[in-house]
């Protein structure tokens, strides 16, 4: 870590990192505590949307200041993760609907 960071900046970065981690943790706990698959599918997107966004923002601010030039490659990770996770979740949801219908679970049918 760099030694001579201004106080207000380290507070800002700390707040962003802790809040981001808290939101991600809430999502992960949701994965454990919610009772069925279709509720649990909402949990991972907390980490990829706001939780991850805040941590990556903190990282971008920190490296931009310590290197004295804008560092925005965090933006690439954010864009990639926010776009790809919904794709995975949609595929997973369709697979799950398909399997539940085959086994006669209580899910909405196709085209009725």
């Amino acid at each position: 870590m760099i030694e001579d960071l201004p106080l207000w900046l380290s507070i800002l970065i700390s707040a962003l990192v802790v809040l981001g981690a808290l939101i991600t943790l809430a999502g992960c706990f949701g994965l454990v505590r919610l009772e069925n698959f279709y509720l649990r599918i909402h949990a991972p997107t907390m980490g990829t949307s706001m939780g991850g966004g805040l941590i990556l923002l903190a990282s971008a601010i920190y490296f931009s200041l310590t290197n004295e030039r804008p560092i925005i490659h965090e933006l690439a990770i954010f864009a990639f993760v926010t776009i790809t996770t919904p794709v995975t979740l949609m595929l997973l949801a369709r697979a799950s609907l398909f399997r539940d219908r085959v086994e006669g679970e209580d899910v909405p049918g196709r085209g009725e």
Binding site: L9, V87, L92, A95, R99
Partner: protein, 93 residues
Amino acid sequence: MSVDILHWSLLIAQIMLGLGMLATVYRMIVGPRAQDRILALDALYVVALLLLITLGIRTNSQVYFELAMLIGLLGFVGTVALAKFLMRGEVIE
């Protein structure tokens, strides 16, 4: 002073992310069905990626960024392949 604040808050954040990873691993082991396990895997790699970013801030090194990108790419391809497999029982259609 300001280094201390950053140090402790990063530690707290890393502990929270570590707990989050444990939670996803629990769901991966317990299941009960294959789609729950894949969902947990999806969350696990995202949290691991975020943990690497906080490690990067702690050590003031940008090497972790490359690792995070790699985890993101491989995690996405892996979970999509698994989800595809669940749908039809075949990866390539």
